[in-house]
Symmetry: C2
Subunit: 681 residues, 2 copies
Amino acid sequence: MESLAVLLLLLLLLLSSLTSSSPHPLDPLTFTEISTVRSILSSHPPSPTPTPSLQSPLFPFSNHPKPPSSPGSPPPLPSLAAPPSPPTHPTSRTSSPSTSPPVSSSLTPPSHPSAFPRLTSSDISRASSTALSDPRVIRTIQNRGLDPSRINCLPLSPGWFGPQEENRRLAKVQCFALFYNITANFYMSPVEGLTVLVDLDVGAVVWVRDEGRGIPVPTGEGTDYRYTGGAARPGVMMERAGGGTGFEVEGGHMVKWGNWELHVKADERAGIVVSTAKVREAEGEDWRTVMYKGFASELFVPYMEGSEGWYFRGYMDAGEYGLGSCAMPLVRLNDCPRNAYYMDAVFSGEDGRPFVRPDVICLFERYTGDVAWRHSELFSDEPIHESRPKVTLVIRMVASVGNYDYIFDWEFQQDGLIKIKVSLSGMLMVKGTAYQNISQVPKEHDLHGTLVTENLIGIAHDHFITFYLDMDIDGPNNSFVKVHMTKQQISPQESPRKSIYKFNREVAKTEKDGRIKLNLYDPSEFHIVNPARLSKVGNPTGYKLVPAATAASLLDLTDPPQLRSAFTNNQIWITPYNESEEWAGGLFAYQSRGDDTLAVWSDRNRPIENKDIVTWYTLGFHHIPCQEDYPIMPTVSSSFDLKPVNFFDKNPILRAAPYFEDDLPVCETTARGELPKCNSI
Amino acid sequence: MESLAVLLLLLLLLLSSLTSSSPHPLDPLTFTEISTVRSILSSHPPSPTPTPSLQSPLFPFSNHPKPPSSPGSPPPLPSLAAPPSPPTHPTSRTSSPSTSPPVSSSLTPPSHPSAFPRLTSSDISRASSTALSDPRVIRTIQNRGLDPSRINCLPLSPGWFGPQEENRRLAKVQCFALFYNITANFYMSPVEGLTVLVDLDVGAVVWVRDEGRGIPVPTGEGTDYRYTGGAARPGVMMERAGGGTGFEVEGGHMVKWGNWELHVKADERAGIVVSTAKVREAEGEDWRTVMYKGFASELFVPYMEGSEGWYFRGYMDAGEYGLGSCAMPLVRLNDCPRNAYYMDAVFSGEDGRPFVRPDVICLFERYTGDVAWRHSELFSDEPIHESRPKVTLVIRMVASVGNYDYIFDWEFQQDGLIKIKVSLSGMLMVKGTAYQNISQVPKEHDLHGTLVTENLIGIAHDHFITFYLDMDIDGPNNSFVKVHMTKQQISPQESPRKSIYKFNREVAKTEKDGRIKLNLYDPSEFHIVNPARLSKVGNPTGYKLVPAATAASLLDLTDPPQLRSAFTNNQIWITPYNESEEWAGGLFAYQSRGDDTLAVWSDRNRPIENKDIVTWYTLGFHHIPCQEDYPIMPTVSSSFDLKPVNFFDKNPILRAAPYFEDDLPVCETTARGELPKCNSI
């Protein structure tokens, strides 16, 4: 085996030197190289048939050669696929062997008799055919009224659950009925309870279990996902097609896009206000209410510096300055793309006189190259490759509150999801210092931030944006349900598994139940449901609030800034609708004492079950500045989603159309100064 | 006041009826309406000058009228801006008063003598001019060698820190030096330590504090952010310009895009492998190493069902099936946009014969309409509005592992950030059931999932994707630093604040220190730094790993699937580089017993300080299915970032160019069947 590896290496080096364009040392093996390796190895029985691949070369990266494993560590395990090279030889592909350190691999045999390489495609088809040729399997399939010739079986990894199945390569086969006249989606027609254990090397069935005889096999009606023509797709990136926006704006504020209808306006305090958002699955169907009103209620920015000039910096930007008031005209082509539609705002000055702030909100249809849904299917009559482009509607405003710029995005998806994103840019609030280099700072001196350049410290701070979300799922009376996941131990009598998680639906009765502190290790989903409106199979229709990256305030609850912004004490709050409770930090925020916050209202602990409720979510950022934030900060973003959950009876964009070659105008480059040639639209 | 409100309402109703296109009940006040309100209110002294805005109407939403506040709750607070309407009158703007419930607002005066409405623009300029006309302020500015006429002052909210500053409207003024011949970015030239308390209504300085006399005021060299011409911008969405990709691919694998250079290939087990990623701030500068190699090492998918046909379902998709092996040709125009470049893979079958899998990776330049950085500045000679488009490079592969489709994206930004995103689509693994409706399910029967349609349960499960990230920040020898934020109490002698957070840099010595369980309430940043390479001001150059939404496994540590996938026990692990430690679940994963996992390697607790280290991050999803996931699942995504942190001495894209009118070809619509007319490029 060792001589074989030497031979192989020499051959590869020869191949490398022969090819005219020398490959990069990290390039994968070429077709020819794989063929060559295979023929060499095949001529040396009893070597098991290998899957040729390259041992990773220790390629020098920017003049630092990748070192071999540290001498003190245990010898590395051998590579499955490539015969490891002996210690005295340079690595394959290295064009300058003199700079390559020797490889330290040795030929220690694997110490895992029960672990195997991954399944091959032959393993997969063999497992299926083995199972399907077993008379017991045929019988149980026939007993369910199914035709054994119209069954697809897939080998599932059996995992490992103790010694009883060790030392042989196994697969647990799960079968599905093929109703090809109805659907290509056989996954939705499982022959439930039938499990076949197959020995992959022997090609024999070890056992057959059938525990699902009473369970019907669905016929797959309505599950096909292949495109069959027709179907509407809101906008096709109209800008590419030479104009238009892909949506309509009626009366300056009512926006109609695809399966959404909503009212958009600018507010001096809140910035963007989205009202009466309604969605429907398809044209002609009834509109369904989702959100009565949503907006950024407050933005709390505490700095982590207690000295005279800094301790008071704990801003409440919406209530103290106004997010709309601080929103400047958007920069066309740069703040929003070319296909954007702009909305002006009419605000009033402090003397009550109206003025127009132009281009303060933009709306645009967006195609980012992302996918709305997809599937590739090999285990089918013929391969299926279906994918749908994701096209969304973005509503944007930027509030420039002094040094900082906050980009607020409301993004509506065709599948019913609403993504609310906040991006931060602009300038750090920096503190002057005599230090020019970290080396001058005494150990005991806390900078409370980062020296971002000579004489300037970017002070550590947080940003908390609290959103008011008056969700009205199919009407005003909703409930908040915590779908709480908890670990459940399983006894050995029940299962070879020792644990699963189960989930319980905990309906919040009063405001106390609606206060949520997120916890990665005690997770929940957060549903706003209409308990009176059930789906086709009896689930309450709902939306879930899906947090993404966020941060929690570390300040003391009695610290004055935290007291005034006590609405950040939890990430989620639920309150009963009250027309006066819109501003999380109080109606008057400037110099407020914290006696009119969301936290105070919530303490009344009012009933919230099956009521018109308001959901509050706080999106947080810790910001320890870095030098890249100087002198202007690259955007940093986070978001959260409002996502339909059993709101639609099925995927509402199942019938969406894909893009075709003619959908987008394709322009050909022409000589400079001439018009490019484009295809027709 | 009440009669005034009635008058106002009647007038508004009149106005509404007079306008030809009747406004939507939620539309904001128009220019004319604000003027009218103002003139009415101004004619009724001593009413304070109001900022007119509409009381929110209780607009019926989809035939459900918005109810007034529930009778049991306390009376709502009055609206600041709009004179609240009396209880007996319908809300303004409601076009059909008969359907409107009465408004329950009352005129309770605000109970917060110390809280005020937000600052007006006049407040802001008055605060600044008041401070700058104070002789003490002028003197301290002159004492620093600055010209008082070249100073900008901004009023900062004083917050609230006890009774001493109550009952008067205050601002704390902070000043900045204007070096307009050098920069418009005055924020980087603070007159540190000078704080001026201004009484906004009296227009007088209450006190002046100056504690920063020894602190230099930086001149703002290099901080201007206005566009001055020149500057390279990688690609300008070449596809729009009629062809091209915006990047180069040399030898089939070396990708050169903007300030990035990296090697991309497909691997049968890992899927996309990105190697030797190097970045530089500008053309002509030295390339700097960032990552030697990165890929998805394992993908663990445990199902939460312990019964016979389900307990073993805890897949390790990379090691059991192969992410590259399961990657199918991408669907052109739908999996990737028109401007994508496609890469084939040469894989080998189980008999060692090579075969070509076409279009298995796509690369494309992306402009989503998002912003790379921006700032709008009003407090300047003339308003500044600068914004830069964010253009990125996306590398994508989709692994269709049986029913599920995993979209893997590596996205490179011009500011040095790398975003790694995983999106899930495809089909649920469903379980057959006799139930057709939730109402048939006995309370004690746990479905272990959601009834997604008649006779099918989507079983709850998780997805954990563990990435191998061999970061080489400016060379192979790096350290892992936990920048740990902790709450610090402050004594009343030190500050009116009671708390801040401080952050400590904890350098990981051995593998034990490199194991991280994320915690929202005990947060850290996670830096990989080169301790030998310091920035201009002495910070170690580094990248930080920035988690976003994720999930942690809830399974028992001794549960066999969890034991085999023990690499998910922490979200982050750091190991010393070892060429044999690439596969988090072990070299052989199929039927593995968990004795060759990342968790086992890490237990050796090897030194990791200032060594060639590998960072492992696990991205997790809990997936409780919903009906929308049936019969094919809309994509769900999460991601994490690798972000430069003191790697660059300043924002590396400060000099990026904006988009101009001529940058993108603009096509005009023409009659169907004709070529659209486009501008030149």
